[in-house]
């Protein structure tokens, strides 16, 4: 989706249309969650501090985010996707990979499907989207970013190598700031430079990601569209109406959160090895305490016991607590236990 949150706000409030809009807090410590295309011309982008955004664009209009609305629109879009294929891998609220090799409408052309989806999104939500069509995930992602807004880009196999070769390294999806800087220091500035390196050299420098880089430089990417991407952690948190100061109150909330986390684990058929407790104090300072165990656990009791100990040690929160959260991570899925899994004695 193009400038998703900002576009939703402009759709719902005619006064914002054609004007620079930033979704996010305008307060001293706020950041921009999304910027409309009008605002982007002033150098306003997401994750920019609101203060700086206001300096760059003095007539910038700040709008409070309405996540419920965005979620609802996101749901509408996904429903459209599902009428074409069940192989939908969401990347965020407004972005997803679709594998339409085999699709529900028996349409052989992915381009026609993409155009149809764009038209339906516009008709049903009043918003524009950009689509990238290609023969693997890496290229489809790059294509979708190429002609925003309201874009459509098709990358065919005969054009792929040329496109990748000309791409600067920081534009590669999957190469972040740190890796890009390291590559630049090695003299890798573009896809063409990357392609000159051997697989061994890339693996030596970047570990197993090096193998991925080697292949994407050749426009190869065999990753499947995963409709059920496995979550790496499950968590639950609550901000309280009144800050908590008593241990018994905090423990009561932890018990509740532990039950929620245990419920999520059960639904995912997973066990965890790590528990993290998040504590936000009255002044918004944040503290996390975490512990990893050798054995797996999934019950609410176990999670609560660990969270309770984390809350108590090294000492109970010394200031009023505004928010408590529990996250379980280092997840092991039932499915994982088939490969390389250390079996346990059945006591």
């Amino acid at each position: 989706m193009d400038a998703f949150f900002a576009s939703v706000e402009q759709r719902d409030n005619p006064e914002l249309r054609g004007k620079p809009v930033a979704v996010g807090g305008s307060r001293e410590r706020g950041v921009v969650a999304a910027a409309s295309y009008e605002a982007r011309r002033y150098g306003v982008h997401s994750a920019l501090a609101s203060k700086i955004a206001a300096q760059r664009c003095p007539h910038l209009l700040f709008v409070k985010p309405r996540f419920e609305v965005y979620k609802a629109v996101s749901g509408q879009i996904r429903e459209i996707f599902y009428t074409y294929t069940d192989l939908v891998e969401p990347l965020s609220l407004d972005e997803a990979y679709l594998d339409v090799t085999e699709n529900k409408i028996g349409m052989p052309s992915a381009s026609i499907i993409a155009k149809e989806i764009k038209a339906r999104i516009l008709a049903e939500t009043g918003l524009t989207a950009s689509a990238g069509v290609s023969f693997n995930k890496f290229l489809a992602k790059i294509a979708s970013d190429m002609n925003k807004p309201d874009g459509f880009t098709l990358v065919t196999p005969d054009k792929a190598a040329e496109l990748v070769a000309g791409l600067s390294i920081e534009k590669f999806h999957g190469i972040g700031k740190v890796t890009a800087a390291k590559m630049q220091s090695m003299g890798i500035l573009t896809g063409a430079d990357l392609r000159e390196r051997t697989e061994e050299e890339l693996v030596r420098n970047f570990g197993k990601a090096g193998r991925y880089y080697y292949h994407i430089a050749r426009a190869q990417d065999n990753r499947e569209v995963q409709p059920h991407r496995l979550r790496k952690s499950v968590g639950s948190e609550r901000t309280f109406d009144v800050d908590l100061t008593e241990e018994t109150d905090m423990l009561e909330r932890l018990q509740f959160l532990a039950a929620e986390v245990a419920g999520d684990l059960e639904r995912l058929q997973a066990t965890a090895k790590t528990v993290t407790v998040k504590i936000k104090y009255f002044d918004f300072t944040l503290n996390t305490r975490s512990k990893t165990y050798l054995s797996e656990f999934s019950s609410a009791d176990a999670i609560y016991t660990i969270a309770r100990d984390l809350l108590r040690l090294p000492q109970l929160p010394q200031y009023p607590v505004r928010l408590l959260g529990i996250t379980a991570s280092s997840l092991l899925y039932q499915h994982d236990k088939l490969q390389g899994y250390q079996l346990t004695l059945a006591f």
């Binding site: 697989e199 570990g207 050798l294 176990a302 079996l343």
Partner: protein, 374 residues
């Protein structure tokens, strides 16, 4: 209070019990040794509340008294003094300790001895005597498999079973299990207890190499060890030990006999090429040949070796954590070992070909699931 003692004699005693003293004790007084003089005998105690060690030595003293002396600074001082008689002068009002040597004098502040926690005494417990070399061997053969998983406290200690016909030591971390049994020691009453890892680690490093009788006594909550002039008291782990006998396979039909050092060195080489998180290696048995191999798909590393062995059973392929195998093979003494296997998802049983007299060693290890078994 005043006493004179040989600096090296005192250092030797302090060093033997110093392992108990932790850097960050629950209560600060535990950073001290407790010194108590009675009838020209100096008794020194170190404790972390769970485990306490006590030693004594003769000193030249004319009066009785007590003081808590800071462990670290005292040890450092004695380590750096040439051997000589040193005089300790203690002011029991201000808890000041003054050490005078031929080199000079050192003043340090102690603490009130009455603040030092009381060490429990075992009265009317069950007792047994074990030669120190056998106890050390039993600890060495099992302690490396003790779990550090706080979620299963029972497994963080060594399970000791005293029976009329044998004494058994068991350790497990849930993935492997070690059982060391002696038939030349026994008691008339059956007792089972879980001794924490720290206590046995300390004991192991303190036990004299020459055979000395170690007296072990137990009551409901504590174990008590004494030998030479050293005593140790430790709190038992008050948990139910897992029913380990139940998981020892009665009959594993596939039996591999192989030279221990051949297998050990092969596993060590191959493990260099294994996945860095699972340490998974494969054992493939085919006729009288054992193939040991590993691969790390993330880095395109792989290695494989062939060893000759005696094998009775079906051809099979099974995965293990190389670290576990290395540690276990390292802790066996015999030239040849037997590895009895069942299926790729059930425990393997590792035993020495020849047990020493009155001793039996049994090691159990759970496999790692190989990718090709679904």
């Amino acid at each position: 209070m005043k006493f004179i003692v040989s600096s090296s004699a005192l250092l030797k005693q302090l060093s033997s019990i110093n392992g108990v003293v932790t850097n960050n004790p629950v209560v600060p007084i535990l950073e001290n040794f407790l010194f108590e003089i009675s009838n020209s005998t100096l008794t020194i105690t170190a404790s972390d509340l769970e485990t306490s060690m006590i030693t004594e030595l003769p000193v030249e003293a004319h009066e009785d008294g007590r003081i808590a002396a800071p462990a670290r600074i005292l040890l450092e001082t004695l380590k750096n003094l040439p051997d000589q008689p040193v005089t300790f002068t203690i002011d029991e009002e201000t808890y000041t300790i003054e050490i005078s040597s031929a080199n000079g004098r050192y003043k340090l502040s102690g603490e009130n001895a009455t603040d030092f926690p009381r060490v429990p005494v075992v009265k009317g417990g069950k007792a047994i005597e074990v030669p120190s070399n056998i106890l050390a061997r039993a600890i060495n053969k099992t302690i490396f498999a003790v779990s550090s998983d706080e979620l299963r406290p029972a497994m963080t200690g060594i399970f000791v079973q005293l029976r009329p016909d044998n004494v058994t030591f068991v350790a497990t971390d849930g993935h492997r299990l070690l059982r060391y049994r002696r038939t030349d020691i026994s008691t008339d009453q059956e007792v089972s207890l879980i001794i924490p890892r720290k206590a046995f680690t300390l004991l192991k490093s303190t036990l004299p190499s020459e055979a000395t009788a170690v007296r072990m006594e137990f009551n409901q909550s504590n174990a008590f060890f004494s030998f030479d002039n050293i005593r140790m008291v430790c709190r038992l782990i008050d948990e139910r030990y897992p029913d380990y006998e139940n998981v020892i396979p009665v009959q594993n039909p596939n039996k591999l006999v192989i030279d221990r050092l051949d297998l050990l060195s092969s596993v060590r080489r191959i493990s260099i090429y294994s996945n860095k998180t699972t340490h998974q290696i494969r054992l493939k048995l085919n006729g009288s040949e054992l193939q040991v191999s590993a691969e790390d798909l993330d880095f395109s590393n792989e290695a494989s070796e062939r060893l000759t062995c005696q094998y009775e059973g079906e051809d099979m392929e099974i995965g293990f954590n190389a670290r576990f195998l290395t540690e276990m093979l390292n802790n066996l003494d015999s030239d040849e070992i037997t590895f009895e296997l069942s299926t790729p998802n059930r425990a393997g049983l590792l035993t020495p070909m020849a047990n020493e007299d009155s001793e039996s060693v049994l090691m159990l290890v759970m496999p790692v699931m190989l990718n090709n078994y679904v």
